[in-house]
């Protein structure tokens, strides 16, 4: 499903080179729930960005559903992100000018879905994450927990097989955080969505079937 082969990411400045990822090889199977853990600066977020096709490795290969992403152009990468990957960010990253419902509709708009169909699905998704009553509110009128639920609904909009979560509970209180993790867990168990979760919070790794530890840009084998 997701394969990384000797992935390196080197940031070059005028004076020095930083190895954010220094040769990572790993495989995540379809329907798996994997937590990626490590201290800050270990490269775990960079790794997630590689999987999410937001960033390109300096060398190595990222294969998503059998597709070598290094061979894709910008348009194809965009389509891959749109159709195969759902993102959940620590900062929620909702579009402030759009209502909750419209935020959920956005990926479907990018896909060219009809207004009727995307509205129906967006409402359904908001119901799934339990906040259909705030559909017409804008992000600033929502609590952190509600915003993250909107973000989850948005990530699921185009029914992607992969869900990438970058510290999804980082900005939430314990209760909201638990609720959000419960939703993600259920998606994994009931819908068979592959979940890759980046966190430095050990309690979150309990939701995962498997935990990969990263340190200094390499997989830390205990």
């Amino acid at each position: 499903m997701i394969q990384l082969i000797d992935v390196k990411k080197i940031y070059k400045t005028e004076f020095y080179e930083v190895y954010a990822l220094n040769g990572i090889t790993m495989e995540i199977k379809k329907g798996e729930f994997v937590a990626i853990m490590g201290p800050s600066g270990s490269g775990k977020s960079t790794l997630l960005n590689m999987i999410g096709c937001l960033d390109k490795p300096t060398s190595g290969e990222v294969i998503i559903n059998g597709v070598e992403t290094s061979k894709l152009n910008d348009k194809q990468l965009t389509e891959l992100r749109r159709d195969a990957i759902g993102f959940i960010f620590q900062q929620y990253n909702l579009i402030p000018t759009l209502t909750a419902l419209e935020n959920v509709e956005l990926p479907m708009i990018f896909k060219g879905m009809s207004k009727q169909e995307r509205e129906r699905r967006a409402k359904e998704l908001l119901k799934l994450v339990g906040i259909e009553e705030v559909a017409n509110r804008r992000p600033l009128e929502l609590s952190g927990g509600q915003q993250q639920r909107v973000a989850i609904a948005r990530a699921l909009a185009n029914n992607p097989p992969i869900l990438l979560c970058d510290e999804p509970t980082g900005n939430l209180d314990t209760k909201s955080g638990e609720a959000v993790m419960q939703i993600i867990k259920e998606l994994n168990e009931k819908e068979g969505v592959t979940v890759v979760l980046v966190t430095h919070d050990p309690s979150l790794s309990e939701y995962a079937e498997r935990t990969v530890r990263i340190r200094d840009g390499v997989v830390d084998v205990p």
Binding site: N49, G52, L54, D55, D74, K75, T78, E79, R81, R82, D83, F87, F89, N93, L94, I95, P96, T97, L98, E102, E105, L106, P107, I109, F110, K111, K115, R154, A155, A157, N158
Partner: protein
């Protein structure tokens, strides 16, 4: 939906958007109002020349050795179908004695009814039987009154009338001239007919009349020169159009400034919305989608600004017309609609052009760089 998104983005920075729109409004208004006014000015100036536009002035071809127009040729002119009226004018410069003072003065020999047709008397009346009529400025200069007597050559003439001040005409200027009848003229001068003013019945027949003259009088040898006063109105039209274009180009500078301000505010929003752009790219927006959203924003600013500017330019045109021409009767001409349309078009194009660079810049952002931006 993209339109909706663009609209909301503009609403988010309301004051900034309004200022950008104001810039476009001013620019469009400046261009369209000046265009409207220029057209009004031209029309009002040309209106003054409407009466003479169908006149043709025929003079002897001096370069070919002709110094007068033959009677037979004048007869030919009178017989032409296009000629509404034919006014032959004899002229000479002669010594005239005014109350013991002598000086050279231009004398015109013309039929009484022709003088009456062309000019009006300021004092006295236009009678040329044994008497003469004097131009306004000459009368003023020499202190002449109706009833005075002047001596031209060896003949004495009573002044029957003084003409109204005429200013500049393109055919003949009567202000410094004495008019006598052709009969009297023959007594005092040997000169023949030096000019024929022909009024052509319809403006569109001027060219046909000219061709007829070329054929019948200038057929063998060029005996006369033909000058259509229409040419003058054409020149005026041309000159005013050029001035108008120049003024509009100056007005366009204000639109350029408006364009720069749009460029500026859109670059600002590109930077402010970097993260948002990153998010949209991450969840599946193409580069073109980002480009489209930003261009739509510029387009909205342009359309709103240009619409308001177009409407206001009617008021602007009215105001300038009232101030400069003291009337606005030329405001509602087809050209007004043209200038408003032109202003609108230029305004929208300026806005969109100004949006291209920021939109392109936004679309070129790498998703990951944009997402990291705080």
């Amino acid at each position: 939906m993209y339109l909706e998104l663009a609209k909301r983005n503009l609403q988010r920075t309301k004051v900034r958007s309004i200022l950008a729109v104001v810039g476009i409004v001013i620019g469009v208004m400046a261009i369209a109002s000046i265009g409207i006014f220029g057209e009004s000015l031209k029309t009002s100036v040309l209106e003054n020349f409407k009466e003479i536009a169908n006149e043709v002035i025929i003079t002897p071809a001096y370069s070919n050795g002709y110094s007068k127009i033959d009677e037979s040729d004048i007869n030919k002119l009178e017989k032409m179908v296009y000629a509404e009226s034919v006014i032959p004018i004899k002229s000479d410069r002669l010594i005239v004695e005014y109350k013991k003072k002598r000086s050279y003065t231009t004398i015109y020999g013309m039929d009484e009814e022709d003088v009456d047709k062309l000019f009006d008397a300021d004092d006295g009346s236009i009678k040329l039987k044994g008497s003469c009529v004097v131009g306004y400025r000459l009368a003023e200069d020499k202190d002449l009154r109706v009833g005075y007597k002047i001596k031209i050559g060896n003949d004495k003439f009573r002044i029957s009338g003084i003409l109204k001040k005429e200013g500049r005409r393109f055919d003949i200027n009567p202000d410094f001239v004495i008019f006598v009848s052709p009969k009297d003229f023959e007594k005092i001068s040997d000169e023949g007919c030096s000019m024929v003013i022909v009024k052509v019945n319809e403006l569109e027949n001027v060219e046909a009349f000219k061709n007829a003259v070329e054929k019948s009088i200038n057929g063998r040898k060029e005996k006369v020169n033909i000058f259509e006063l229409q040419l003058i109105t054409e020149r005026i039209d041309e000159a005013f159009s050029q001035i108008n274009t120049f003024l509009m180009a100056i007005a366009a500078i204000s639109l350029l400034v408006a364009g720069v301000s749009i460029l500026n505010i859109m670059l600002m929003s590109t930077i402010e919305r970097t993260k948002e752009i990153g998010v949209m790219r991450a969840i599946g927006a193409y580069r073109q989608t980002i480009l489209k959203i930003f261009l739509l924003e510029a387009l909205i600013l342009g359309v709103i600004g240009s619409t308001i500017g177009g409407v206001l330019s009617i008021l602007g045109g009215y105001a300038i017309d009232m101030i400069m021409l003291h009337n606005a009767k030329y405001l509602f001409m087809p050209s007004t609609a043209f200038y408003i349309a032109e202003g609108f078009f230029v305004g929208v194009v300026t806005a969109v052009l100004s949006g291209i660079y920021p939109a392109w810049k936004a679309s070129k952002l790498e998703p990951i760089e944009a997402l990291r931006y705080e």
